[in-house]
């Protein structure tokens, strides 16, 4: 197992970090009218990052999950308001697992944005499929679809199997995390294409495991950024004539942030490595990383906000954006209890 990034992976990180430093405009989404940062999305597409794990013959980069995790860490650090997680992770992973060749090239190129419609508990969305005139139509809805407000292509998991639809009535939702949209989708005799597979539920499990790793990468990037900004602040903010970082109460909290960051990164490196090199180990590694990293990110974001004092509670400061992103990430896949139950179930299988 390789838990340390190689030179190329480190270069990828520098490239993405530089791109985001130059082009990320999270406030255009938080304070403005944009639903996402379309210019940044184009830049990501030009670098081939939107199709990172898509096979080369379908227009992707044919890279691995370790590389995609590196990119997601940077996106998470920067709170980049782009539909990468919905499109380049959830939709792409499902379509790759289902062997799609029709939609993947457009998603890989970033020309279209994909989203995944499942139930909030990661079961089938309340959607029914009917065969009509040799094709299929969908009826029903999906209540919380990540980036469903900006997506062009919907990958739908229903009790009748997997479908792709390019049309839906969407209602953008107001979200806890202002940097990542969600929408309610409604289908009414909406034409769809069926994606055949022997075991639809197994595909969902695989998608969910890979999504757990991808989300952990975003979270690890977020923790690292919270640590960095908090430590910088503790060095310059003076109270009682001393930098606050020299006080043990602040210094020790920063040390705990560092310890959390290092351990979360270790779990992530292993899970991403397993996604590429040891698929048997992936389910346990993926569940483990979410159990640790979900609450860890939220605790880190809350601690970072607290250590900034009053300024941390203001709208102008980004601390609240990390706080909201962290809580939203923790709850996305059914919440912490669900994550614990999932890991406990997988541990039953090992010991």
């Amino acid at each position: 197992m390789q838990l340390v990034l190689d030179t190329e992976q480190q270069q990828l990180r520098s490239t993405v970090r530089k791109l985001l430093a130059d082009h990320n405009n999270v406030r255009s989404v938080v304070d403005g009218d944009d639903a996402y940062d379309a210019a940044l999305w184009r830049h990501l597409a030009e670098l081939g990052l939107t199709g990172l794990v898509v096979p080369e013959e379908l227009g992707g980069a044919g890279a691995g999950h370790v590389e995609r995790a590196v990119v997601l860490e940077e996106l998470g650090r920067a709170l980049a308001p782009v539909p990468f997680f919905a499109s380049a992770v959830l939709a792409v992973d499902a379509l790759v697992a289902l062997g799609d060749t029709q939609v993947l090239p457009a998603l890989a190129a970033g020309e279209k944005i994909g989203a995944l419609a499942v139930s909030p508990e990661w079961g089938p969305a309340p959607v029914s499929a009917t065969e009509r005139d040799g094709g299929w139509v969908l009826d029903g809805h999906a209540p919380f679809v990540i980036s469903g407000d900006v997506a062009d292509v919907f990958v739908v998991y229903s009790a009748d199997g997997w479908f792709v639809a390019e049309d839906a009535r969407r209602t953008p939702l107001t979200t806890l995390d202002p940097t990542r949209g969600q929408a309610k989708l409604e289908f009414a005799a909406t034409p769809a294409r069926r994606l055949d597979t022997a075991d639809p539920a197994a595909v969902l499990e695989e998608v969910r495991d890979l999504a757990s790793v991808a989300l952990a990468a975003e979270q690890v990037g977020g923790i690292a950024k919270v640590l960095e900004t908090t430590v910088e602040y503790a060095k310059v903010r003076v109270q009682f004539g001393r930098a606050i970082g020299s006080y043990q109460a602040v210094k020790h909290a920063c040390a705990d942030l560092y310890s959390t960051s290092e351990r979360a990164e270790s779990l992530l490196r292993h899970a991403a490595w397993a996604a590429d090199h040891d698929r048997e180990a992936l389910p346990l590694a993926a569940a483990t990383t979410q159990v640790f990293t979900g609450p860890a990110y939220f605790a880190a974001a809350a601690s970072g906000l607290q250590l900034h004092g009053g300024i941390g509670y203001t709208w102008e400061h980004d601390a609240h954006l990390y706080y909201k992103r962290a809580k939203s990430c923790e709850l996305l896949f059914g919440g912490h209890d669900e994550q614990l139950a999932r890991l406990a179930g997988r541990l039953d299988g090992v010991s």
Binding site: M1, R242, V250, K251, C254, S351
Partner: protein, 390 residues
């Protein structure tokens, strides 16, 4: 007289019924050495195997299935040996490393004093030069395995006229010297794994110095770095009652394995255990790629102590009243009680959790240090509560 002493010593060593555990430890370590499995990453010229951390990791994984009986060598293998390899002369390495690896000689680390725990640099054991020799007087405390040790790494003050960190020197000493007195100290588990050690005019040759005279703090920091990795970087052993796998088994045995709270806490514990284990793998892989862990060992030490506390909490959740009383000879009850009672030591020994956090804050994160009043003051002039007249 010294000839007679040698005779008495040799006969007693040969004939007094030994501590069976100690004899077993030595036999086992010697067998490991003969099999080419001791000092896996240590240099070949001093008896090591000259292999990589990959082989060490394989050994750790495989040996974690067993309760290896050689823990008495832990301080020598984990701290003193690596520091001698870092700072020792070729003669010191040749003299001390091979017998340590073979299990012929046991080591202890003589740092802490009654007035110098977390603030080790304020220690008062003196070593005064007398011709070519040094004469040591003073006292150490909390010295693990001193009662069994053949050698010790001693930190002593050699110059009280410079600030406290600058006047220290590290020495390698013979624990069997009659000028060394070892008194066992009972810890809160009721056992006596550590000791008080007294030096009364202990005479040391010039070549007992490890590193440079006056550079003892550097030697101590080097050793403490190894110590943190060694303590924190432990792999939970298969037999450790607090290992996740064993607690899960205990939950099954007590019929608590379907309880959702127990299941959730076990899952959290597993995640924390894995996070630390994988962090330690990363440290090793980084070291192999050329960046030594440095102060990052403090994360392993701190997280290891927290993991221990978390595991004790889960054990209590599973065992309930069974953790409070048990029948004589009930091994499971004894083990659990011992684990509960040993837990506080993991947050104290080798530097408290608070000290580890300060190290992380100062050395890794570069946060400003706390105001220090004594850094530039000659030790002799310090007004510390425990200062004793020279």
């Amino acid at each position: 007289m010294s000839e007679f002493r040698e005779k008495v010593r040799a006969w007693l060593a040969e004939n007094v019924p030994g501590d069976e555990e100690l004899a077993t430890a030595k036999r086992f370590q010697a067998a490991l050495y003969d099999a080419g499995l001791a000092g896996i990453t240590w240099p070949k010229e001093f008896g090591g195997q000259g292999l990589t951390s990959a082989e060490q990791q394989v050994f750790d994984q495989e040996s974690a299935r067993y309760d290896l009986p050689n823990s008495v060598f832990r301080i020598g293998m984990g701290m003193c040996g690596p520091t001698i390899l870092d700072l020792g002369t070729p003669e010191q390495k040749a003299r001390y490393i091979p017998p340590l690896l073979r299990g012929d000689e046991i080591w202890c680390q003589l740092f802490s004093e009654p007035g110098a725990g977390s603030d080790v640099a304020s220690l008062q054991t003196r070593a005064v030069r007398d011709g070519d020799e040094w004469v040591v007087n003073g006292q150490k405390v909390w010295t693990t395995v001193a009662h069994l040790a053949d050698f010790g790494a001693l930190l002593a003050r050699t110059d009280p006229d410079v600030p406290k960190h600058q006047g220290l020197t590290m020495f390698l000493i013979d624990m069997h010297d009659p000028a060394v007195t070892v008194r066992p100290l009972k810890d809160m588990t009721g056992r006596a794994p550590f000791n008080e050690v007294y030096f009364e005019n202990l005479r040391l040759p010039a070549d007992a110095v490890l590193g440079q005279v006056g550079q003892g703090w550097l030697a101590a920091v080097t050793m403490l770095g190894h110590e943190r990795v060694s303590i924190g970087g432990f792999v939970r052993k298969r037999h450790d009652p607090l290992a996740h796998a064993n607690l899960a088994e205990t939950a099954r045995r007590y019929g608590r394995d379907a309880d959702p709270v127990v299941r959730a806490e076990l899952a959290k514990l597993y995640a924390a255990e894995r996070a630390l284990a994988l962090f330690n793998v990363r440290l090793r892989q980084e070291a192999e790629a050329g960046s030594p862990p440095g102060a990052r060992g403090s994360v392993a030490k701190l997280a290891g102590a927290q993991l221990q506390q978390q595991a004790v909490a889960v054990a209590g959740l599973i065992a309930g009243p069974r953790a409070t009383a048990w029948e004589p000879g009930d091994a499971a009850g004894e083990e659990l009680a011992l684990a509960i009672n040993q837990t506080p030591s993991s947050s104290i020994a080798g530097g408290t959790d608070q000290i580890q956090r300060t190290i992380i804050g100062d050395r890794i994160l570069g946060l400003p240090r706390e105001p220090v009043v004594d850094r530039d003051v000659p030790f002799r002039e310090l007004r510390v509560g425990t200062q004793r007249p020279a």
